[in-house]
């Protein structure tokens, strides 16, 4: 312990340690941010390979490549890895890098905990991936793991899955506490809450969501563990339990969780669009209020995932109305982004391309979300590919595009080098086309009646499935360009200026590129 402390305190004066220990013991927000981002990129590729396995099997009707048992494991792992391994760590990584720099702090408030919250993740996900090789296979019950399929009828490896979920939850909570502490305590003098950059605002709200719902997830998996190993009957009807209870608890976590995956994206886009429109963000205050109301509303709409479980009429009505209500603040955000572009002076570098695509495609995802909110019609959409199309429109061109936009936007700041702009644009266009070819047809096959999570389908769904699979491979392989571009940029290239983008605003651009190891050794002044 004392050597650790020493390293930390010498760090403070001389910059990073050398070799592997720099990464193992580091308490530096930039190192940890980098590790989070690399981890999430690796998980994105792993989860992507699983998606491509699914899409390859669904290229044609009939069973060609994999058996239904393995197919279910692939969909489950793909969903879990993308949600918990790719999107969430990427946002935490961005927060680690940017929040201290944006509020004018030298580091995160709780640096040592920061190290822990990262290093838990590789262990959690190794364990989760290992379940695939266990007897009986890995989790095969969907990322929503509805009981009793995930309890009474689950493979033995579910115990490891539960343990992995616990670890991820602990990591998320520690990360969230750290971000809240940083934002509350380390803001530069003069930076009032209503002067904070929107990315910081959205992350603050996200962090509160995380702290509120991660224990709920922990609770539900613990109840599963009890049912499986200790003879309780929370979810086992034969023992007096209630399978629907599982769904209520799960979605009380799960619905805010989907906002955890999109609120930081709102923040990112609200940074990028003003930069490249060379105009201040339209409606800063209403953005803050809209984000907060979305967060609050997200706690009262969970049962819109359960319209078909057999709720009483009054419940259906309540959840329908509140869900529809979320469209209002979300609409306000979209209108504000467009008003920011309106009468600006726009240029379209890669980050802006991704941000604009985000606005368009996320809005399309929002429209299908609105359709899903109409309870009677949801009876037809629920658990079909229409839903798969909906959530991929908000997750892939939503969350993932915003992460890519953020990466291109801040990469010159992080590395001190410019990335290759034409390769970035190529990556954007291939991804944009790929995403739409993949997910747009899913609306059609969903409406035509194809249930989700099936390894084989009736003949009338064949054509669009083929199209979707082609798009998925296009999208998947385009990501190699992304990785190549990042690696090249990290290695060298044209030097970046401090204020990388002509229209950039905010404290992070007052630092050198790359920034010093401890961001602000003197608190900056904010007017």
């Amino acid at each position: 312990m004392s050597t650790l402390e020493q390293t930390a305190s010498t760090d403070h004066h001389h910059g990073p340690a050398k070799g592997i220990t720099r990464w193992l013991y580091t308490t530096n927000h930039k190192d940890i941010g980098t590790m989070y981002l690399i981890f999430s990129l690796v998980m994105f590729m792993v989860g992507g390979c699983m998606a491509l396995t699914i899409r390859a099997e669904l290229f044609q009707p009939g069973l060609q490549l994999i058996q239904p048992e393995f197919f279910n494991q692939m969909t489950t792992m793909h969903g879990l890895i993308m949600v918990f391994g790719a999107v969430m760590p990427a946002f935490v990584g961005l927060a680690n890098w940017m929040v201290p720099m944006m509020v004018g702090a030298p580091d995160m408030a709780l640096p040592r905990m920061n190290n822990w919250s990262f290093w838990i993740l590789p262990f959690a996900f190794s364990m989760m991936l290992m379940t695939l090789f266990m007897e009986g296979g890995g989790p095969n019950f969907g990322w929503t793991f509805y009981a009793p399929l995930s309890t009474t009828y689950a493979p033995p490896s579910v115990t490891f899955f539960i343990f992995a979920v616990h670890m991820m939850g602990i990591s998320s909570i520690m990360g969230a506490i750290n971000i809240i502490a940083t934002i509350f305590n380390l803001r530069a003098p003069g930076m009032t809450f209503m002067k904070m950059p929107l990315f910081v605002w959205t992350w603050l709200i996200t962090a509160f969501l995380l702290i509120a719902v991660m224990p709920v997830l922990a609770g539900v998996v613990t109840m599963m563990l009890m049912d499986i190993h200790f003879g309780t009957s929370f979810f086992n009807a034969a023992g007096g339990g209630d399978p629907v209870l599982f769904q209520h608890v799960f979605w009380f976590f799960g619905h805010p969780e989907v906002y955890i995956m999109i609120l930081p994206a709102f923040g990112i886009v609200s940074e990028i669009i003003p930069t490249f429109a060379r105009k201040k963000l339209f409606g800063y205050t209403s953005m803050v209020y809209a984000t907060s109301s979305i967060a609050i509303l997200s706690f009262v709409v969970w049962a819109h995932h359960m319209f078909t479980v057999g709720m009483p009429l009054i419940g259906e009505l309540f959840f329908m109305f509140t869900t529809m209500l979320i469209a209002v603040p979300t609409g306000v955000k979209v209108f504000n982004w467009i008003a920011t572009m309106f009468r600006g002076s726009m240029t379209f570098e890669t980050p802006m391309l991704f941000a604009v695509a985000f606005v368009v495609l996320f809005t399309i995802g929002g429209f299908s979300g609105l359709m899903l909110a109409i309870a009677p019609v949801d009876f037809q959409y629920h658990d079909t590919y229409f839903v798969v199309a909906h959530f991929h429109y908000v997750l892939v061109p939503g969350a993932i595009f915003s992460i890519m936009a953020a990466t291109y936007y801040w990469l010159p700041k992080w590395t001190g080098n410019m990335y290759n702009e034409s390769m970035g644009k190529l990556h954007f266009w291939l991804s944009f086309i790929g995403v739409n070819i993949t997910f747009f047809p899913m609306h059609f096959i969903g409406l035509a009646g194809m249930p989700r999570r099936i390894p084989d389908y009736a003949l009338q769904f064949a054509d669009f499935n083929m199209v979707a699979s082609v798009g998925a491979f296009l999208f998947g392989f385009s990501q190699l360009l992304f990785i190549y571009n990042i690696v090249c940029c990290a290695k060298g290239g044209k030097k970046a200026t401090d204020r990388v983008w002509e229209g950039s605003h905010g404290l992070e651009w007052t630092l050198s590129s790359p920034p010093p190891y401890h961001s602000f050794s003197q608190p900056p002044k904010v007017e």
């Binding site: 009707p61 009939g62 069973l63 060609q64 239904p68 266990m134 007897e135 296979g137 969907g142 509805y146 009793p148 009474t152 009828y153 493979p155 209630d242 399978p243 629907v244 429109a277 060379r278 105009k279 963000l281 339209f282 409606g283 078909t308 479980v309 057999g310 009505l317 109305f321 529809m324 209500l325 209002v328 306000v332 467009i338 920011t340 572009m341 309106f342 009468r343 600006g344 002076s345 726009m346 240029t347 604009v356 809005t363 399309i364 609105l370 359709m371 109409i374 309870a375 009677p376 019609v377 009876f379 037809q380 658990d383 059609f444 009646g449 249930p451 999570r453 084989d456 389908y457 009736a458």
Partner: protein, 370 residues
């Protein structure tokens, strides 16, 4: 010349109805009052979304084209505008309220629980449906009837690939049919798009749904809740018939039951049982224990050369009849007739090199009475 032909081809894609049929793009309108109401709601909200999209994306496109730096656009300095912001909060809210009214009406209509003419209990099993006509003495299981060879690409796929069953649910048109929906093991969901009925089947709960079908016809659907490995192979076929045809079907069901009784009392040779048993194995057992009887290690036990196969036949029969609590092995006693049970057990005991002797329908009958 080339171009012309291409244009012709493209227009063919757009116009030809045959091509449209393959590229299904919208919800079915269905054959019930509720399904029509739902379809209309779906179209309204879709058009509302399209209208908003045109406005929003239009403004955006305009800005992208005309407010570019490369065209010499200078950035304006406004970044707040109270009444615009108030307006674009209130207008969408108004649209939503306008949408919520018809949506609530339809929902209330769907919850009309008044007296039904016919009551059918629908139970989801891994991976088949059971239909019990509560007012008649009719009770049967409905299994996927698509041959394994089609699924494994060894035979050409039929027209209703994966959407066909051995015994469809038969109901009369013009009558209010109430479904009491539940499940035996995990959660399933009973969904027929043309009826706009989708209701989860949950163990320990009985959910209610109902329909009145306007036109005779065959309507197909699938289980809509992930329920394990064969979730994709759990079709639902509803055969809606005129009242007269329905009555005739009821009568034929009763005859079939008598025939089954007679079969159980007759004497069967081992060969007969094995032949019959193979077919039963394929519909009821193969999904888990596999065609080669090897099972799936860690998930489903194998049946080849195990102590159970060569040991006491009655012990084997007991497991098939009563199932194994807490595992995926169901109690087949109520699902299969005595003859089918005897046949499939005899088949298992003599397939794949096993040599475990035979079990008769009479033994099964005794076992059930124990």
């Amino acid at each position: 010349m080339r171009c012309n032909r291409l244009a012709l081809l493209l227009s063919g894609f757009v116009i030809s109805p045959a091509v449209f049929a393959e590229w299904e793009v919208n919800l079915v309108r269905g054959v019930t009052e509720i399904s029509h109401a739902i379809f209309d709601l779906h179209m309204i909200i879709f058009y509302v979304c399209v209208a908003i999209a045109v406005v929003v994306f239009g403004v955006m496109l305009w800005s992208i084209i005309y407010h570019r730096k490369s065209r010499g656009a200078k950035a304006q300095h406004f970044h707040e505008h109270l009444w615009v912001e108030v307006l674009w909060t209130i207008v969408p809210f108004g649209i939503l309220v306008a949408m919520a009214v018809p949506a609530s009406q339809t929902l209330i209509q769907m919850y009309d629980k008044s007296e039904a003419d016919i009551n059918i209990q629908v139970t989801g099993y891994q991976w088949k449906w059971r239909y019990q006509y509560l007012d008649q003495d009719i009770d049967f299981f409905s299994n996927l009837s698509t041959p394994q060879d089609q699924i494994n690409n060894k035979a050409t796929k039929g027209e209703n690939y994966l959407l066909e069953v051995d015994q469809p649910l038969v109901i009369p048109v013009g009558k209010k049919v109430r479904f009491l929906i539940t499940a035996n093991d995990v959660i399933h969901s009973w969904w027929v798009p043309a009826l706009a009925v989708k209701q989860d089947a949950i163990p320990g709960f009985i959910n209610e749904a109902w329909t009145v079908i306007d036109e005779p016809g065959i309507y197909r659907g699938q289980c809509a809740e992930l329920c394990g490995r064969d979730h994709g192979f759990m079709p639902i076929v509803v055969d809606a018939r005129s009242e007269a045809d329905y009555q005739q079907w009821l009568a034929s069901q009763n005859q079939a039951q008598e025939a089954e009784q007679a079969a159980a009392d007759q004497t069967w040779t081992m060969e007969e049982l094995i032949t019959k048993g193979e077919a039963v194995y394929q519909t009821s057992c193969m999904a888990c224990h596999q065609a080669n009887g090897q099972g799936i290690p860690g998930a489903f036990p194998g049946l080849v050369n195990t102590p159970l196969m060569s040991g006491d036949g009655l012990e084997h029969a007991r497991i098939v009849v009563h199932g194994r609590a807490g595992t995926a092995m169901q109690a087949f006693g109520e699902q299969l007739s005595d003859v089918d049970l005897a046949a499939v057990i005899t088949y298992e005991r003599n397939a794949w090199g096993n040599a475990g002797g035979m079990i008769t329908p009479q033994q099964i009958k005794q076992l059930k009475e124990e």
